[in-house]
């Protein structure tokens, strides 16, 4: 089932009389293709959970429409939308066993949808098998680990075979190791069932690793929608560029002069086709190459060896961050006692943004392909 969000807006009235309304979701337009896994990504308070609540119907939108397939569900109550929601804290009924929890949605079915006891048990077992908890059916939620509770919550959301599955911060309550495992699990379950799935997260690793598409949000406004790698490679603005990637992108104040990008007085890279102006440069940590004769000279702070690669921490007066972190292959030997270190840059990993507003990519992509967008 494809999901269409049409100019979706949610405004919360201000708590004080004089204050402005809070716009949690601002003019969200997006067509989610059928059977895909979508990651809603953004810092906390950006409106991603509100978007989820709008889709499932727990909150009514102030403006805009929601379609499931061709049906307008904007005014439908949550129970009639055919959505399954997994809550951030799972919201498993603590006094019911795992089986009773999974059965609960089925027991509410009325009329012609009503199932026999046998069918209900069978469906519950099916859902349990899908998330691999069939051995825990008689336990209470308090007797389960966090990861197991998560699975029960997913099974409960799936047992009615919803058209759309929504997950609110599904991994935030799990420890690091379980998080890796569970996100694979979510991917597997989604692929096995083929249910259009939307999940919310503030963790970009999570979103990038399993989503077919990610939606990056900030202050209620959608910043960029696209395949994870695409968004990473071609961020539309500085926010998206800094939000995606660990360690984060390094931001420099720069200038474009005579078709070259200059940091300080040194031209670091050619930038053909862009007119002279001040600019902001984002350089991914992996975009640095150790080079004796490189154009970018930095003051060396320290070198961190991390096994697979080496992290060089340095400072530069034009940098907006206190420290510039660059990641280079461990094969490169860095003189730890040197005063300075010199780099040349990998063009693909360098993003140029305008100074004004900083939200339109002047130019993104590789220099060789010459894909350059002039800002208005």
């Amino acid at each position: 089932m494809k999901v269409v969000l049409d100019h979706l807006t949610k405004r919360f009235p201000s708590r004080t009389k004089k204050g402005d309304d809070v716009i949690a979701v601002n003019d969200f337009c997006f067509e989610i293709p059928d059977g895909k896994l979508i990651g809603l990504l953004g810092p906390s308070g950006c409106g991603k959970s509100t978007t989820l609540n709008l889709i499932c119907g727990l909150e009514p939108p102030t403006d805009g429409k929601i379609f499931f397939g061709e049906d307008d569900v904007t005014r439908l109550p949550p129970e009639n939308r055919g959505v399954g929601l997994v809550f951030q804290n799972y919201a498993l009924y603590p006094h019911l066993t795992v089986q009773e929890n999974i059965l609960f949605p089925l027991q509410n079915l009325k009329g012609e949808n009503k199932l026999s006891k046998q069918d209900m048990l069978e469906k519950a077992m099916q859902a349990a098998r899908l998330v691999q908890i069939e051995g825990l059916m008689e336990r209470k939620p308090s007797e389960l680990s966090g990861g197991q509770q998560q699975r029960v919550a997913i099974a409960r959301a799936l047992v009615k075979m919803p058209k759309v599955l929504l997950l609110d911060e599904p991994l935030s309550n799990l420890d690091a190791r379980l998080r890796l495992q569970t996100r694979e699990e979510i991917r597997r379950i989604q692929q096995e069932t083929g249910i259009t799935t939307i999940f919310v997260t503030h963790d970009q690793d999570e979103a990038m690793s399993i989503s077919d598409m990610i939606v990056v949000m900030k202050d209620g406004i959608v910043q960029q929608i696209g395949a994870p790698q695409d968004v990473y490679d071609n961020p539309t603005n500085l926010f998206v560029a800094t939000f995606l990637g660990t360690p984060p992108i390094n931001v420099f104040d720069a200038k474009i002069k005579n078709g070259e990008i200059c940091i300080g007085d040194r031209a670091v890279m050619p930038a053909p086709g862009i007119r002279d102006q001040d600019a902001v440069l984002g350089i991914r940590p992996e975009g640095f190459i150790l080079d004796q004769n490189g154009p970018l000279e930095m003051k060396l702070n320290r070198v961190e060896v991390m096994g697979r690669d080496t992290s060089v921490v340095s400072t530069h007066p034009a940098s907006r961050n206190a420290q510039v972190r660059s990641i280079i292959s461990a094969r490169n030997q860095v003189d730890k006692n040197a005063e300075t270190v010199r780099f040349s840059l990998i063009p693909d990993k360098v993003k140029v943004f305008s100074v004004k507003g900083e939200n339109a990519a002047l130019w993104a992509g590789s220099l060789e392909s010459g894909r350059a967008h002039e800002e208005e």
Binding site: V83, L85, F87
Partner: protein, 296 residues
């Protein structure tokens, strides 16, 4: 290890001494009194040991009346007051505007003096030479026969006593249940909404189990409190409860000790221990039932 044990006992000593002197010893003493036959408090003498006191009390028509009254009071008021309190709390929880005002109003009886409230109830229900009382006026207005609630038939007096008791114990229950309802995580209700649970099912399958520990607490304390009822009856029917036929077990104990027919600590002790046995039994039954139905 030994040294630690000593230390532990030392820490426990003040509490043990206090509890021992003021709780265990009197309890034990009551047991002793209840077994001493023909005990005279003036000469501190008795002429035998046995179960005669129990036999006497259990055959005393006043005591049997008191037991009947007390049981009726318990059976009527505990479920009714808890049920009504639950309804009121659900209502309070459902409204937003003026909730605090209503909460305060419902809590007012709790801070009002029992005897003062009893006086007001007397005025509402009592028939005097000058007026039939407000309630009777209303009954007449609707075309009914006026009833003397204070000196009249047994059922009328029982009705007033139960009504009064429910009114007095209600605020505390409302307070406890409102906070219990408010502390149920709203996510459960959202989840139930997503699962399309009808209202009644949400109430029975989610709300009730979630607040069951509090309900259970109210039922147990309600039972114990109602079994120990005394001041309520005094407030309504005066100190001569036997004459009014509205005595309670605790009232009987008091009468045996200090009432006009008093001076029999042995009978009083026996009656008190019978009450203790009753309350203990009921509480044990409650606990057994709760194991099945209360979710913690």
């Amino acid at each position: 290890m030994k040294k630690n044990d000593l230390k532990a006992w030392l820490y426990l000593l003040p509490a043990i001494l206090f509890l021992g002197i003021f709780m265990v010893y009197p309890l034990f003493d009551v047991l002793v009194y209840s077994l001493e036959e023909g005990y005279n408090s003036a000469s501190q003498s008795y002429h035998g040991v046995g179960l005669y006191n129990y036999a006497y009390v259990l055959r005393d028509p006043y005591f049997l009346q008191a037991v009947r009254n007390t049981f009726l009071l318990v059976i009527i008021t505990v479920p009714l007051s808890t049920g009504i309190a639950l309804l009121i709390s659900l209502g309070l929880n459902a409204i937003k505007p003026l909730r605090n005002l209503f909460q305060t109003i419902y809590f007012l009886p709790y801070v009002t003096n029992t005897l003062a409230v009893g006086l007001v109830f007397m005025i509402l229900f009592k028939k005097t030479a000058y007026t039939d009382g407000l309630v009777n006026l209303m009954i007449q207005w609707f075309g009914g026969q006026s009833v003397d609630f204070i000196d009249g038939p047994y059922w009328a007096k029982m009705f007033v006593l139960c009504f009064y008791t429910i009114w007095v114990v209600m605020p505390f229950k409302v307070l406890i249940l409102t906070s219990a309802l408010a502390s149920v995580n709203p996510e459960y209700y959202s989840a139930a909404k997503m699962d399309a649970a009808p209202r009644w099912r949400v109430f029975t399958k989610i709300t009730l189990p979630m607040i069951s520990p509090m309900i259970f607490y109210l039922v147990i304390t309600g039972f114990i409190g109602a079994f120990k009822a005394y001041s309520d009856a005094i407030a309504l029917f005066g100190t001569d409860l036997n004459a009014a036929g509205m005595n309670t077990i605790v009232g009987y104990v008091y009468d045996m000790l200090y009432g006009s027919s008093g001076g029999y600590p042995s009978f009083a002790s026996a009656a008190a221990l019978i009450l203790f046995a009753i309350v203990l039994t009921i509480t044990c039954i409650n606990l057994l039932i709760s194991k099945k139905h209360v979710h913690y």
